[in-house]
Symmetry: C2
Subunit: 400 residues, 2 copies
């Protein structure tokens, strides 16, 4: 018997299941492995021998799971330690692999997962175990190195841009509007917040201000800009990453949100509520609404991007072929050949080049004042989300 196991790790996305089904369908086609097992709840479940034979799935079930958000195999927050610190665990894991005739392990996840791939491949090599360890990338945050963009990001960006557009139209219907703040995920990198710049209405950006973790938050400059825009339009729309930071690297959410909370309950206030406090305290207006997109941005499949779905599927297919070709300690990735027409090439890279790195937004994508995204930069984002809705309102004609 020659079997394999595939597992998912970290936060869910809208397309991580497409990757798993891509791998499964490719194996059904070429019958390379006898059994493709799902490892339930990532490495944590594998250590408990919690396997599910994916060969049981009908074609219809495969198609349904392919188009299901979140982690269909279950996920885990478990980070595999170094071999030196966890010898017993490695021994147990490889014993389970041997027991089930598992010759390849596929791990779909972010940079922690790719680190697991790297460690296991190194262990196998050192112990002369003939197994392939292959990573399949995913993360809505888009903070993976080497790969052009992480599967899951395009769908999350589409959800964010659409939600920015629709909440923008909602927030500007009165003669006396206020400030609307949408908070996105992205603790370290600003890719998700930046995708709010894709939302346009009547050819203009909806988001007046976009705040990223990569640009240190300057309260004075920020307030000045908010007041300026508010005076001009009676309405300000802000997109802020949860990871907005001060110059000293501390999170804005941690320092400002519980300024008014004697018990220090920071969980009540993220970056959005911190910005609200700043704006209200400065007396700009008391009419400030905060929208936290929360987990919907990573699992709202109904707005999944077609490109994202297809790419995730292909990266899964390709991971299988990589194992067949004898690769190990590698990640199935894509690189971009062209923005327009959009074209990518599927290839692979060392897991070590992705593991434990973070891909930040390059500062040349940010406008000079540090509070928005350049038009040029949007060429990177547009093909990933696909077309956004086009709306029209009338009272806008009357806007000063």
């Amino acid at each position: 018997m020659k079997n394999c196991v595939i597992a998912q790790s970290g936060g869910p996305t809208s397309v991580i299941n497409a990757s798993v089904m891509g791998l499964l369908k490719k194996n059904n086609e070429i019958s390379y492995f006898d059994i493709v097992y799902a490892g339930i709840n990532g490495i944590e479940g594998i250590l408990n021998e919690d396997f599910f034979d994916l060969g049981q799935l009908s074609d219809e079930e495969i198609e349904t799971i392919r188009y299901t958000p979140s982690a269909a195999l279950g996920s885990c927050r478990y980070k595999l330690k170094n071999y030196e610190d966890s010898k017993e665990e490695y021994r147990k894991l490889f014993e389970i692999f041997r027991k089930h005739d598992i010759k390849a392990f596929f791990y779909a996840g972010g940079n922690d997962s790719q680190d697991t791939v790297r460690k296991l491949a190194a262990y196998a090599k050192e112990h002369e175990i003939d197994m392939n360890f292959i990573g399949i990338p995913k993360t809505v945050d888009n903070d993976l190195q080497v790969i052009d963009h992480a599967p899951g990001f395009g769908s999350a960006a589409r959800y964010i841009a659409t939600s920015v557009l629709e909440s923008y139209l909602d927030s500007m219907v009165y003669t006396n509007n206020g400030v609307f703040i949408t908070e996105t995920m992205g603790r370290d990198a600003g890719w998700l917040a930046a995708s709010g710049a894709l939302a346009t209405y009547n050819g203009r950006r909806c988001a007046d201000i976009i705040l990223l973790p990569e640009v240190p938050f300057d309260e004075e400059k920020f307030l000045q800009r908010v007041e300026e825009i508010y005076k001009e339009k009676n309405h300000v729309y802000i997109v802020a990453s949860e990871g907005v930071r001060l110059k000293d690297g501390s999170f804005l959410a941690a320092t400002k949100a519980h300024a008014h909370d004697s018990f220090g309950h920071a969980q009540l206030g993220g970056a959005g509520n911190a910005l609200k406090n700043i704006i209200v305290s400065a007396g700009v207006t008391s009419r400030v609404k905060v929208l936290e997109l929360s987990t919907l941005q990573r699992s709202a499949f109904h707005l999944a991007s077609e490109v994202d779905l297809l790419e995730a599927f292909r990266l899964g297919e390709r991971a299988l072929l990589m194992a067949k070709d004898g690769e190990t300690g590698k990640v199935s990735i894509l690189v971009r050949k062209s923005d327009e027409p959009y074209e990518v090439e599927y290839t692979s890279t060392d897991a070590s080049s992705i593991a434990n790195h973070v891909k930040y937004m390059p500062l040349d994508m940010v406008t000079e004042d540090g509070m928005n995204i350049t038009e040029e930069a949007l060429k990177y984002f547009r093909p990933l989300t696909g077309k956004l809705p086009e709306y029209r309102v009338i009272h806008h004609f009357h806007e000063k």
Copy 2:
């Protein structure tokens, strides 16, 4: 010249523009009025003679606006006073109507707007002014009397049910899950929160608990149920209306959310955060996430319900015909003939029967423990949202 004006009032919805375009297209077809004006920003804008001739719109623009969320004509929070308290305003308003040869006024809005229709119709009758005042209903809250359901509700319910389903799948991927709370709009009536019951996965409801303003919140019973479910499944999904109240009628959000906030900043915490405080304080688990759907539930057009869109359009068409037939002080409404197959009849009712009333959830729609919706009641909801996505995950098979 025989002109008319149509205006929008109150909070936006996904389909209020469809009503306006329904009226406009019907007039383009039968050429009853010479000009259909939009009153920009409701009665507030009309008092400033802020009109827009809708005849300027191309067919393509009409179609785009029909499928645009929020209030395309702008809205207002302005409540027209009684004639006795505001004679000068009434005089001015009717002078503006006369000046622009306006023979009919259409107001799309909730029960405040229908109250305006009632007042203006009564004034016109008393002063022998030959004008028609017709209301077009809308409100995501679905708290309007007489009409089977309010346009805007079906789309909001579809957004909520889809978001409950997708965030449910996201919230249960780990072996150690927690409590997930989704907060919906609905300050007085629980229709929106109740629509979370439509979200099903593998034939079971996603929402374990649904809390409505109509059922007084019983902290002890609530905690007992949460602990029970948490023990059984390691995961609890709660949908709560923003209007959840205690026995004495006070809002849960107002009493519990700032229990920990010495400055009393109630705006930080709605009902969802109040429930989180209760669960965490009781020591059930500290893993509690809150999702506030905020304004997206009323303006996320990308999930608008087809039935809702069509009905809103037809109610607009019919409002025009009502004016042509000489009706005044009336509202264009629909009543339900059958759940399955779904069938409605378009008719009209006195504005006074809608104005200043609230349609609460009937308690026979609520399960005996007061914390969910009966299966029977869902027959009312299902035709309004249309079909929801069907998903499938594998780790669920392993759930105890």
